[in-house]
Amino acid sequence: MLQIDLWKRVLIWVLCAAGLVMALPNAFYTRVEGANDAVAAIEVRGETPELTEQAGQWPSFLPSSLVNLGLDLRGGAHLLAEVQVEDVYESRIKALWPDVRDVLRPERDTVGTIRRQPSPADELHVKISNPENMARAIEVVRGLAQPVVSVTSAGEQDLDVSAEGDTLIVTLSEAERRATDDRTVQQSLEIIRRRIDEVGTREPTIQRQGADRILIQVPGLGSAQELKDIIGTTAQLTFQPVVSRTSDENAEPGIGNEVLPSLDEEGLYYILEETPVVTGEELVDAQPAFDQNGRPAVNFRFNPSGARKFGDYTAENIGNPFAIVLDSEVISAPVIQSHIPGGSGIITGNFTVEESTNLAVLLRAGALPAGLNFLEERTIGPELGQDSIDAGKVATIVAFAAVLVFMGLSYGLFGLFANVALIINICLIFGLLSAIGGTLTLPGIAGIVLTVGMAVDANVLVFERIREELRTAKGPARAIELGYEKALSAIVDANITTFITAVILFAMGSGPVRGFAITLGLGILTSVFTAIFVTRLMIVIWFERRRPKTIEV
């Protein structure tokens, strides 16, 4: 009658025990967190006595994964950025003009003179003087097109060439735009990730969202502005020929030149040629180093084409100064002492060690390929998060106590069984949350409290059913068995429907709401498990021992 196979009993207890052990680290949150940090630090920087001691605070044979606290509980900065993918179209089109000119020139006899026309930023307009031979011009320019590099649009060309009267119009094709967008966002994501990783905060979230958005969440950061500063530093490096030095900010630089301030020396300005010799895009590596005087500096190396340009320029300009420009400020303007072949060099300036390290990072990471537009930013202070945690804790405990007392009063011994199951249930939720690396948010805490209230539902269904069956006087064993049997379909249907809404909430929601969906969903799973298996097992064990003639539910 009331029988549960031994292997099932063992399995149920093992699952509960596993849940408890996995939930355990959360009871010692700060200690485990400190130990985890120390372990991570040892992996990166090697062992020191303090770190070893800190890592020893939590025994390594116990599980150490914790529930992540969401930004609303821990405090930190949140940004949603839109990558302005159109920026890239513009630079692509700009770079196209010399090529178009070069292929049309040999055809001058048929197409006539060519002239670039003003156009929208993402189109190239070229006027030809023999519009009757436009077909030939289009054919020639189409020859420039390359196949799109992307899986989804294989076989398509990257340029669309068309004509309007005497004007030839070149644009990027739809397929190429999609492919470019994708590359741009990926690249931006990578660069943002590298920059944030370098700052070394704990558990940043950097995710792509939709076609052109990036979500960045960094716990423990003082403000969204700080985060913007970290990712917004562009680090555009160029090497430009120096025309002269001046102290006048408004000096007239002359055509093709520009005036840029010095980074270190207040009031000193350089007049530079606008066209750089080499840019940071041709860098392949940058490392913090020290110069021959032992001052912090940055070593860099160019790719072959950059190395050639740099080598040629230094060979031709021995004795002239050239400027190393970072984000429109001149870091230094050394005089070229000798021909520098091989494409490596060193940037010196008044750096601290930290600055040179940061600069190397920025140069390595490269500039963002396109601008970022910030659509959403949130800063949560750590105090507010702590207040929420405290309030959440108190509320959960009180809710818990109220439900325990109420269940005890209503169902007596069976209520106690349900209460034990409820406690196991909460541990299982925390255990699962830790195991899957889920994030606990403030609405997530509400989800747990709601689960506390609703988790007893499955037990209530069973107990009420047992009461009903008892009234028909079939003996306690039969009543318990029937109670479980008949309540099962209601339990399953009721919980599946709630679970469906939790899944939808998880899929459509973001941030805190998603945290709620996770705890609600997990709560449903664990409460069904505890009601159907754990409480039942407890009742069966009790029943076997006592063999009561009558029971009161």
């Binding site: 913007k228 105090e383 108190v394 009063l409 209503s410 069956e469 209601a490 919980n495 939808i504 459509m508």
Partner: protein
């Protein structure tokens, strides 16, 4: 001695006045709708864009002073309110400042926020900005859309599930109850002008889940009883089923409400609106699964030829009737 919320073996008639109950529900829904049309919801920045700043200071807050300090910045619609909460310390004075989305700006400007913080510091030097949140109009527009889709999807998915597990009349009854609960919840948010933000959508979906939970338990019993009592009129079967499950309905509602009320009182002001929505939802959901879902089922009628009966159990179950 056991605590019993509902006396044993009740035999209350829930369908003596179906028109009255449906009428009350319909009237409440119309009232909710009218309130929504007239006042609209008090959307948070998630849904309309803008910035909210939460400040904390030991010094007491004078909303008028804050308003005067911010007036020269010409930020358009600025709402300043002081927040009171039993969980706050004695010298913890909290205010919320909401600034509308600035015209023609998609992204949020740091300058505006900095200017506001500067201005407030002149009034209250020890002020702390414990949270600053800005949402651009582009995102907020999308959030409304996603939220609406989520609610509709949830209701749709549930409709299909119940249709598969029961009959289409059950599905319609359950969904009628859901729509009823969602509309009444939106109605009370509009009537009381409580801030309506993303978390409230989560609460709405939870209400959908809870109300269903309740409805499904009643329906499950209806299905069982329909198989048991093939000849009894539908009305009697429905009544019997509701009475049989009444004790459970109350137990679960009470435990859930106990937990939610604890959260409402002690959980802090940040999620109070969210918890309020759920408390309201539990009350409305319990009512609707009895009076709306079942009444709709009664009006629609149910196909009675349940071909798959369980011959082994039938005999036993007939012996069970004692209600």
């Amino acid at each position: 001695m056991r605590l019993k919320l509902v006396p044993q073996g009740t035999n209350w008639d829930f369908f003596s006045r179906p028109k009255l109950w449906l009428g009350i529900s319909a009237a409440l829904m119309v009232a909710a709708f009218v309130s929504f049309m007239l006042q609209g919801l008090n959307y948070g920045i998630d849904f309309r864009g803008g910035t909210t700043i939460r400040t904390e200071s030991a010094q007491t807050i004078d909303v008028g002073q804050y308003r005067d300090a911010l007036a020269p910045l010409e930020l358009g619609d600025v709402v300043i309110s002081e927040v009171f909460d039993p969980t706050f310390d004695e010298d913890q004075n909290v205010a919320m400042i909401r600034i509308q989305a600035q015209d023609g700006q998609e992204s949020v400007t740091a300058d505006v926020i900095a200017a506001v913080q500067e201005a407030l510091k002149t009034v209250t030097p020890d002020i702390k900005f414990v949270s600053v949140e800005s949402v651009g109009p582009k995102v907020s527009g999308e959030l409304i859309q996603t939220a609406a889709i989520a609610v509709v999807l949830a209701i749709g998915a549930v409709l299909i599930y119940i249709w598969l597990r029961f009959e289409w009349q059950f599905a319609l009854g359950a969904v009628a109850a859901l729509v009823h609960d969602v509309i009444l919840t939106i109605g009370i948010f509009s009537e009381l002008q409580i801030k309506f933000d993303l978390a409230i959508i989560a609460a709405l979906l939870t209400i959908v889940g809870y109300s269903l939970n309740d409805t499904v338990v009643v329906f499950d019993r209806v299905r069982e009883n329909l198989m048991k009592f093939k000849k009894r009129p539908l009305r009697e079967v429905l009544n019997l089923s509701i009475n049989e499950t009444l004790s459970r309905t109350f137990m679960t509602s009470v435990t859930t409400l106990l937990a939610l009320i604890a959260l409402f009182v002690l959980g802090g002001d940040v999620i109070r609106g969210f918890v309020f929505a759920m408390i309201w939802g539990v009350i409305v959901g319990t009512y609707s699964s009895i009076f709306v879902a079942s009444t709709v089922l009664l009006v629609l009628g149910v196909k009675r030829d349940w071909s798959k009966t369980d011959p082994e159990n039938t005999g036993n179950q007939f012996g069970n009737v004692d209600a």
